[in-house]
């Protein structure tokens, strides 16, 4: 038995360490450690409710819109108001763009470069994948970053700036859209579709959306889609066996996204928000398991038995997986359902396919949304002063279910608790000893003689698209 610490991890956002116990080339036990903590939940207390709109999104520079929307939703609930439909629509488009940009950078900058490692030299696909995806130098990076930057002009048009946009308010968005703005939005989205079709997929998006089984997917990558970067991924991933690795057998959770485009739910039953608790038994935090609506955050840097700054969220006491895969499982997407059914659970492969598939789904939907603005109507309704109130905001960030829980008393924030997607996926053990989803996904992984240096470890970790700054915040 050897114990190795893998980390610091690169090409993830923030700091991550994973301690692995390896026995006869198989991972026996994994401990996932979030090593960065800033104390947002402490900092927010005592401030005026609306100031959360500025402070809370700064938890994360990558999914700041998701954070902003969760804050605005929580404030809205506490105020008892509804947003202007135009504002909600505008926010939905910005959110979609952020999530798409995230999926794209995960695929090109974070996940694919692992296939360019020297470990894979000599594989049939290596000669075509390596020049495109080698970290920093790969030929695919430039055009991708440029298309992504162009798409993100949408953020400028609808939210002023990104990351850390300010336009999102409880009553809607401060930015209204005029006819010219709407045309620019359409043309920016059309440009992004061009990139997806020419470079990522090699076919029209509608062809991707029609894939409904693994068999069709395999035929696609050897047929019409053979020239796209997605096909490069599928070939490499299946050859390496990522369709059998990194599985998590527990349930999937989604809070639901884009007004029902992706529904809310739990993969194996009904889901009640009240059944969410956060456990700190293995975190460097003091306290007992508690609902986020009543939670607290008290650092205890030298707590015995602690190995992470992250809390362990549990649903009815169970670890759950969140993310694009969870969303598509709950949306009963035929292709993803087939991948999960054949593998008897989630896998590295299914997680990446779900993410890439969402790019096509969300792009097609967003093109429709742009047409729905009622240009002469308001984008932001007045909101009442917030003296006392309780509310929560639930959104689907690119990486999965994100929740903010807020209590305001006498005009000041009395409690603010956040459960980010990677808090779910990369949670440490709870008081019953139940490991978090990544810890479970790593256990049993056959790494062979390479041990912790096996690229398979990297694939499994990165398949969740971790965001470590969100995780402990």
């Amino acid at each position: 038995m050897t114990r190795t610490i893998v980390g610091p991890f690169n090409r993830v956002e923030g700091d991550l360490e994973v301690a692995l116990e390896i026995e006869d080339g198989i991972i026996a036990r994994a401990e996932v450690s979030t090593t960065l903590y800033r104390g947002f939940e402490q900092i927010l207390v005592g401030r005026p409710g609306l100031d959360a709109l500025v402070i809370a999104p700064r938890i994360c520079g990558i999914c700041s819109v998701s954070q902003s929307l969760a804050t605005a939703q929580a404030l809205r609930a506490a105020m008892g108001i509804e947003p202007a439909p135009n504002g909600a629509l505008s926010a939905k488009i910005v959110h979609a763009v952020e999530n798409m940009a995230d999926h794209l950078s995960h695929f090109y900058l974070f996940f694919m470069p692992d296939f360019a490692r020297a470990d894979y030299e000599g594989r049939a696909w290596f000669a075509s994948v390596q020049p495109r995806f080698k970290a920093v130098e790969g030929k695919a990076m430039g055009p991708m970053l440029q298309s992504r930057a162009q798409l993100m002009q949408v953020m400028g048009l609808l939210a002023g700036k990104w990351p850390h946009s300010l336009a999102f308010q409880p009553g809607g968005t401060t930015q209204s859209v005029d006819l010219g703005g709407r045309m620019r939005l359409s043309s920016l989205l059309a440009g992004f579709r061009g990139f997806l079709e020419s470079t990522l997929f090699g076919v029209e998006l509608e062809t991707i959306l029609a894939l409904s089984s693994r068999q069709q997917l395999e035929a696609f990558v050897e047929g019409p889609g053979a020239g796209g970067d997605f096909a490069g991924f599928v070939r490499a991933a299946l050859d390496v066996g990522l369709d059998r690795m990194g599985g998590f057998k527990g349930p999937c959770l989604s809070y639901g996204a884009y007004d029902g485009l992706f529904p809310a739910g739990l993969s194996d039953g009904a889901f009640a928000l009240e059944s969410i608790t956060e456990d700190v038994s293995h975190a460097w935090l003091a306290g007992e398991p508690q609902s986020p609506a009543l939670g607290e955050t008290r650092p205890d840097a030298y707590k015995p038995g602690g190995y992470s700054w992250a809390k362990a969220p549990r649903l009815e006491g169970r670890a759950v997986e969140v993310g694009a895969l969870a969303r598509q499982v709950i949306a009963r997407d035929p292709l993803i359902s087939d991948l999960v059914a054949t593998a008897h659970g989630s896998t590295v492969f299914a997680r990446i396919v779900a993410r890439v598939l969402e790019l096509a789904k969300v792009q097609v939907a967003a093109e429709q949304w742009v047409e729905q603005f009622q240009l002469k109507h308001s984008f932001c309704l007045p909101s009442p002063p917030l003296d006392d109130g309780v509310g929560h905001g639930l959104v689907e960030a690119a990486r999965g279910a994100l929740g903010h829980w807020l209590t305001v008393k006498a005009g000041k924030i009395q409690r603010y608790q956040i459960i980010a997607p990677t808090t779910w996926n990369f949670s440490p053990r709870d008081q019953s000893g139940q490991p978090g989803p990544l810890e479970q996904a790593l256990a049993g992984l056959e790494v062979g003689a390479a041990g912790a240096k096996s690229p398979l470890v990297q694939h499994v970790v990165r398949s969740f698209d971790p965001c470590m700054v969100c995780t402990a915040h």
């Binding site: 090593t35 800033r38 104390g39 900092i43 500025v54 400028g156 002023g160 030298y302 700054v469």
Partner: protein, 362 residues
């Protein structure tokens, strides 16, 4: 990596044309305010000087600076800055991981002793002996000090590295501390903002790596070329401020007309940054253009100056007797007077309050 390799050698090897290179030089020179002569100086330097290694480290942060950076609108930035100016080490995008990554740091530190630029995103937390940000088994503050020892200069990216940012907001649970409070014996250039504008970041990196020195800095250590302008003075809504025309509610009639956001809490009058000229996301917009006030995210302590939605009370724009409410109601008749009063008050303030926010950059 040969020691005499120049920037131009690298980009030629990557298949970038001479034409693109020249265009990059003139555009960058223009954005840095160097003029036409600057472009050829830049081209010459990039062709002849060895490229400067850049090490990019992340402390306690949210990665918004990196996100801003990789989204730069410049068509060549992905080639020029991401790979060619040699981002030899960057946690977020690099290939190496774990000990291999640490070895790159040690190698660069030894091989380019006194030559490399250390770019820092985020800052070190000092409470609990640095336990709030552990990187490679050690507190980030140790890694920072170790790499700073042999750096020629340090770039403090963003509000975190420059000032502390929201993670240093009261009660600052981790004692998040800006770089210049930890590293005191190296030239430090602060590029504040949460995040800084992409074009400002690439401009700063390009200037330093091209000319081998820091650009001119103001008294707070910020590059003058980007931080000498007050948002308020270059704001396209400024005429409405002077005319006493203000937005009262988000997206109200006045908002649709593009009136001034001062009453909605805009901090443009006390903020120095290039947002109102360079703008964001490819020059498309900036917060004020989106109908929301500026929060002053490039200013020291912006996070603890009272609520973001209260108007500034420390500027007297309409003379001693008037406030925005009174002037707004009778705007039509007092426009001229308000403009005159504003100019006069500004002039007096400049003379009398040498260290006020209005003049700190002079």
């Amino acid at each position: 990596m040969a020691a005499i390799e120049t920037f131009y050698d690298v980009i030629r090897r990557q298949g970038i044309s001479r034409r693109s290179f020249t265009k990059f030089c003139s555009l960058t020179a223009a954005s840095l305010g160097l003029g036409a002569a600057g472009a050829s100086k830049m081209a010459h330097a990039l062709e002849t000087k060895p490229r400067v290694p850049v090490i990019w480290m992340h402390g306690l942060e949210c990665t918004c600076c990196s996100e801003s950076f990789i989204r730069s609108a410049h068509p060549l930035v992905k080639d020029v800055v991401l790979s060619m100016i040699s981002l030899d080490y960057d946690d977020t995008i690099m290939a190496a991981a774990g000990h291999q990554a640490e070895e790159i740091l040690a190698e660069t530190k030894a091989k380019y002793k006194g030559q490399y630029i250390l770019a820092v995103e985020g800052n070190p937390p000092l409470n609990e002996d640095g336990m709030f940000c552990i990187d490679g088994g050690k507190p980030f503050v140790e890694k920072l000090k170790w790499m700073a020892e042999d750096a020629s200069a340090i770039i403090a990216w963003g509000a975190c590295a420059s000032w502390g940012c929201v993670q240093a907001a009261k009660p600052n649970p981790t004692q998040a501390t800006p770089i210049d409070k930890v590293i005191r014996n190296k030239p430090i250039i602060k590029v504040p903002g949460c995040p800084p504008i992409a074009e400002v970041m690439t401009g700063v990196v390009t200037f330093i790596t091209t000319f081998g020195r820091l650009p001119d800095l103001d008294r707070q250590g910020r590059p003058k070329m980007f931080y000498s302008q007050r948002i308020h003075d270059k704001c396209y809504r400024r005429p409405h401020f002077d005319a006493g025309q203000f937005v009262e509610h988000w997206d109200d009639e006045s908002a649709r007309k593009g009136y001034c956001l001062y009453k909605m809490g805009c901090k443009g009058p006390t903020t120095y940054n290039a947002c109102s000229t360079v703008r964001w996301n490819g020059g498309v917009s900036f917060p004020i253009q989106s109908g929301h006030g500026c929060i002053g995210c490039s200013e020291e302590g912006f996070w603890d100056k009272g609520t973001f939605y209260d108007r500034l009370t420390n500027i007297k724009q309409f003379g001693v007797e008037k406030n925005a409410d009174e002037v707004g109601g009778t705007a039509a008749t007092v426009v001229g007077a308000a403009v005159a009063a504003h100019a006069a008050v500004s002039a007096v303030k400049r003379v009398t309050e040498g260290k006020s926010s209005e003049t700190k950059n002079d």
